[in-house]
Amino acid sequence: MLKMIVCMKQVPMVSDLPWDPITGTLTRGAAEGMMNPACKHALEAALLLKEKHDGHITAITMGPPSAEEILREAIALGADRCLMVSDPKMAGADTLATSFTLARAIEIFCPDFDLILCGCHTSDSETAQVGPQLSEELDIPSIASVESLELREKTLRITRVSDHFLETLEMDLPGLVTIATGRFIPRYASMAGLGDAFQDPGILTVGARDLGLDEHDVGLKGSATRILDIFTPVGRKENIVLTGAPKKIVEELFERFDDAIGSVIRKDLKAEK
């Protein structure tokens, strides 16, 4: 039996980003959540392995109580078990604190895992750091941004593109991978799956105390970084609109932006005097 863990995060839907255009800050409370797209790909990769290798999947998320929704979604898609790590003390965690907390939860509630799968990055903070840091915290090998994987016995063979190199790598389990978006197109939930998710999905919820953690270890207090502010990059684009006959437009474009374009193509675009 291949025992897998998929770590997932609830993120705000990007299309209706809840920022206040005047103060430029996020109003997180108002955000409607969804499963982070890359985590969906990670779950899909786990489901494919499960079909092939008699696997078992535990979905884990750390987040506010509302994040339970994505665990239900994971059950509907085929996860077997869920763990919700939630505690007001854990709010404001950076990747150091998040990976620390997840590692403790995994050690206590699913210590005998073979493979951990994470999304390669989240759509909100986009750090791509939690997966690699979790592997350090658990002292297991890891490979990031995996595009294909194949399991033989207890050895995972993966391919990925890393800085223009197509790499084929092998890793003995237990280990961790983060899954690139692109391959592993997520499936839709079946009716049977939805039924399971809406009956009692049996989600185990644990807090800092269940993990034997002090408030100084988790959340903002356990974090090394501090956010000074969040703002919209205002005034970045002037959005100049040009209309009229194509020939006139093009002349105007070069009159105003000959330097901006010329400096990049390394040509003098000034009109002949």
Partner: protein, 333 residues
């Protein structure tokens, strides 16, 4: 020269030296920051037969380079590099470590930060020093629609990965003097837990679009395959590459290689021309690092037009033809 109080380290990521100059860009920014906190700028180079890169880093602003040169380091290895770097950091105690946000850097830096139990900010687009002498790291969130400023108040070193193309490299100076510190390969180094089966440099084609400083992107609004081909002529005149949206690739007006969008088909040109593209999120996810954007669309309200620096309301095919003609006139010789 007097001993400096601090040091700022730049991880030498030389694997794609000619395409990816991020290490040089970081050496340049590190020199600016160093003046604000009285620091010396150091680079680290791990690998085999790396003299060339050591020389390049000194020529581009490193005053000291820690070099570990050994056949066992012929291939990049996250496992090994993390251990090596951790030891060096514990020995010398840099104040700041900057790593290019390459695929490798974005896997290496988090693991190093975890071992050092310090903070790390991902994919920065700005670095500064504030009044308290802290490194202020500006990083994008939500696909660049928001920016966050982050500091690491207490833990050291302060660490950041930085997006390529944000800073300008210093012109090289091969007369510059730099100290080289040779670091022996520790004999108690743990083994690599990852086995490299193969590593092939990818075909040049795909790199070209991803690295091009000028990209001409076309969408369904180009109208026909024939008109779309004109974009290749425009790209040729500009010395750029052609990108395409999905419908265009499906219609076989352009090759699959040209697709720009989500699914890791990212481009980051300094100048992007966008012709007849509506600006669906699946496409714009791939151009969020583009610099100056010129969009042409009949519909002034298209999403692509809203995110452009210059939005041209006109027929895409006609503007393309006019651009080619005007450029040929202006580019003399």
């Amino acid at each position: 020269m007097a001993e400096k109080k601090h040091s700022i380290w730049v991880f030498g990521d030389y694997r794609n030296y000619f395409q990816n100059r991020v290490t040089l860009q970081l050496l340049s920014r590190a020199n600016d920051l160093a003046k604000m906190i009285d620091a010396e700028v150091c680079a680290t180079v791990f690998g085999h037969e790396v003299d060339e890169w050591v020389g390049e880093y000194i020529a581009h602003g490193a005053s000291k380079v820690y070099v570990c040169d050994h056949p066992a380091l012929t291939f990049y290895s996250t496992d090994i590099y993390v251990v090596l770097m951790e030891r060096l950091v514990r020995q010398y105690g840099p104040e700041i470590i900057l790593v290019g946000a390459t695929s490798f850097g974005r896997e290496f830096a988090p693991r190093l930060a975890k071992r050092l139990k310090t903070g790390l900010t991902a994919d920065c687009v700005g670095l500064d020093i504030n009044d308290e002498g802290l490194l202020v790291q500006t990083a994008p969130a939500f696909g660049g629609s928001l920016l966050t400023r982050i500091v690491t108040p207490e833990k050291r070193p302060q660490m950041a990965t930085v997006r390529p193309g944000v800073f300008q490299e210093i012109p090289h100076n091969y007369q510059a003097a730099g100290e080289i510190v040779n670091v022996p390969l520790p004999d108690d180094l743990p083994g690599d837990r990852i086995r490299l089966v193969s590593s092939e440099r990818q075909a040049a084609r795909e790199q070209k679009l991803g690295d091009a400083s000028v990209v001409v992107c076309g969408g369904r609004g180009m109208g026909s395959r024939k008109k779309f081909r004109n974009l290749y002529e425009l790209a040729r005149v500009l010395g750029g590459e052609v990108g395409a949206t999905r419908p265009v690739v499906y219609a076989k007006w352009a090759d699959e290689d040209a697709l720009v969008g989500q699914a890791d088909k990212h481009i980051s040109p300094k100048v992007l021309f966008s012709f007849g593209i509506s600006g669906a999120i699946q496409h714009t996810a791939g151009i969020k690092n583009a610099g100056f954007i010129i969009a042409v669309n009949k519909n002034p309200n298209a999403a692509m037009m809203k995110m452009a620096d210059v939005a041209i309301v006109a027929d895409a095919g006609q503007v393309c033809t006019a651009l080619i003609r005007e450029l040929k006139k202006r580019i003399r010789s």
